[in-house]
């Protein structure tokens, strides 16, 4: 198994710890994007905290994996440990899905299929304002079931929003089954390409491949970019990997200990 880099490894550890503390699920979905979110926050996103005009926008359209983003925000010192430890607690701004009321989150999400439209609007705005800021939207493969997503795909290609990047977390699973069994998306890369996007297919759990791909994109002109990121659902915890039940399931004490030790081994 390819090892996570340090930042993504820390994200995974936080995911496991917080899910256990809060006794909640969505663990597998968060683990599958840990490397994508890790590279984005550690190496790609330009986020001077208060510069609204220059700051890149990141939208987690698959909002149910928000814990991965909270972990990144914590590691980047944008939220405190106290806030992080409030994940899913009463009165917390850190719910299962991200809310823009939390500093560091630009757009709330949770209803699948909406984030890419918000992102396309944000990218159009940046272009109109002649700002170099970029927009990254992380969607899930199951989310591509949503028809409205393809409206945004068409709009973005038509207007050549090169400052927009969609990252499709292709872990092959959705809430109630494998994507190939629920509503087949194949051939996904060809579909995005046919809609006029600049498509790159990569190993979405390989930090180096992710970083190299982002760094090679031309955000100034041409088509919007789609990163088809092939990921493993539950990546890093052997008993969760590619198992449907870990979309929702919380961990027992024994499962928690095993998960922690496996993630530690891979740091």
């Amino acid at each position: 198994m390819r090892k996570s880099n340090d930042f993504s490894g820390k994200i995974r550890k936080i995911i496991i710890e917080q899910c256990k503390r809060a006794n909640v699920g969505h663990i597998g979905s968060a683990l599958s994007i840990a490397d994508l979110v890790g590279v984005l926050y550690d190496s790609i996103l330009k986020m001077p905290a208060d510069d609204h005009n220059r700051r890149d926008r990141f939208i987690l359209s698959k909002g149910h994996a928000a814990l991965a983003v909270y972990a990144a925000l914590f590691l980047k010192k944008m939220i405190s440990l106290e806030q992080l430890n409030g994940y899913c607690a009463d009165g917390s701004l850190l719910g299962v899905h991200p809310e823009h009321f939390l500093k560091g989150v630009d757009f709330s999400s949770g209803s699948l299929g909406q984030g890419l439209s918000f992102g396309a609007g944000a990218a159009l705005a940046a272009r109109m304002q002649k700002s170099a800021r970029r927009v990254f939207v992380l969607v899930s493969d199951g989310e591509c079931n949503e028809g409205a997503l393809w409206e945004a795909v068409m709009f973005s290609a038509h207007h050549k929003l090169a400052n927009l990047t969609a990252i499709i977390d292709c872990n092959g699973q959705q809430a109630f089954g494998y994507t190939k069994d629920v509503l087949s998306l194949d051939p996904l890369a060809q579909r995005w390409r046919a809609f006029g996007w600049d498509v790159h297919e990569i190993d979405g759990n390989d930090p180096k491949a992710i970083k190299d791909t982002f760094e090679a994109l031309d955000f100034s002109s041409g088509s919007p970019h789609a990163i088809i990121a092939r990921t493993v659902f539950g990546k890093g915890v052997s008993y969760m990997q590619s198992q449907i039940k870990w979309h929702y399931w919380p961990m027992s004490d024994a499962e928690y200990q095993q998960a922690l030790s496996e993630i530690k081994d891979n740091e």
């Binding site: 757009f107 949770g110 209803s111 909406q114 439209s117 609007g121 109109m128 409205a148 945004a152 709009f155």
Partner: protein, 318 residues
């Protein structure tokens, strides 16, 4: 109101470069003046209203004031969840412009009617809902609300000619406009159908029924205090709306009566039946749904005559 909308928007856009206009491929022969004056701030988003609402959200987050335009049902119902999770949740200055409330698209049939937009929009905290009664009021309403920090929904009519006498273009957020004071019953009407309600009031006077007419254009914030004051002055109150009977201003009036412990009886005139496939002109549809001036007249006469407790009329009804 469509023409006055575009004219007013053009004037505002000349002064404020944040204003943009998006359309879901509608507005042919209406929106061209804006498109031609500001081609870089005009986007035809195609027949994709959900995405249009999302695009508007992204634009507004960056500081723009996007107006997005379609027929009422396509502007509100199709992208409703995008509006809820986008402009409303984020409290962004997105402007939703729905044209053709009620039966205005007549023979186009139910898919083009706007009969529940007010109900679903006023259910949401954090959005201003405006339904002007005529063009002059539409202009005042746009001028008062275009720069609000949160989202606004405008329910506009295609009709550019109708004038509600006594309204004089008045509009204020959270207020109702009393365009006629009568001693007997009160009619509270929603936006575009106010002209029918006014005609009904005219017809009723010689028949011995003196009507107060109140126009609601500021649906949300609702003119609750104005309504409570007006309703408490009458024992019989009618609401008139080109909208389904539940959830619109009839429901609003019922809330005001109940919450203030008022004793007036309320008769809600609106669309009560589901669609049976029969369509026709707007006038025809209003007529068969009891919303023409004549039908409103008859309903009021009947209530005054038959319902209990009896209304004490200021003079004998004919």
């Amino acid at each position: 109101m469509r023409k006055v909308f575009v004219k007013t928007l053009l004037e505002l856009a000349q002064k404020d470069e944040r204003i943009m206009l998006l359309t879901g491929d509608l507005g042919f022969t209406v929106l061209e003046p804006f498109r031609d004056a500001f081609p870089k701030r005009f986007f035809n988003c195609g027949v994709a209203e959900q995405n249009m609402a999302g695009i508007a959200t992204g634009l507004a987050e960056a500081g723009f004031i996007p107006f997005f335009y379609s027929i009422v049902t396509f502007a509100v119902l199709r992208p409703y969840e995008f509006i809820r999770n986008g402009a409303i949740l984020h409290q962004l200055p997105v402007r939703i412009v729905g044209v053709g409330g009620g039966f205005e698209y007549g023979s186009a049939g139910i898919t083009h009617y706007g009969l529940e937009d007010i109900a679903v929009m006023r259910a949401q905290p954090g959005i201003t809902v405006i339904a002007p009664a005529d063009s002059a009021q539409a202009r005042s309403a746009i001028l008062e609300s275009w720069n609000l920090p949160g989202p606004v929904y405008y329910r506009l009519s295609k009709d550019d000619r109708t004038v509600v006498s006594g309204l004089n273009g008045e509009f204020a957020l959270g207020r109702a406009q009393v365009v006629r004071k009568g001693k007997d019953v009160a009619i509270i009407s929603l936006g575009g159908i106010s002209a029918e309600a006014a005609a009904a009031a005219e017809k009723l006077l010689p028949l011995g029924i003196d009507v107060s007419l109140v126009v609601i254009a500021s649906v949300h914030p609702a003119p609750r205090e104005d309504l409570a004051r007006i309703i408490s002055g009458h024992s019989l109150v009618f609401t008139v709306e080109e909208h389904y009977i539940n959830g619109g201003i009839g429901s609003l009036a019922a809330e005001v009566i109940a919450e203030n412990g008022l004793s007036a009886r309320l008769v809600r005139l609106g669309v009560k039946q589901g669609y049976n496939g029969v369509s026709g002109s707007q006038g025809y549809m209003k007529k068969i749904n009891g919303l023409s001036a004549e039908a409103i007249c008859r309903a009021i006469q009947k209530s005054c005559r038959d319902d209990t407790p009896k209304v004490k009329l200021s003079r004998k009804a004919v």
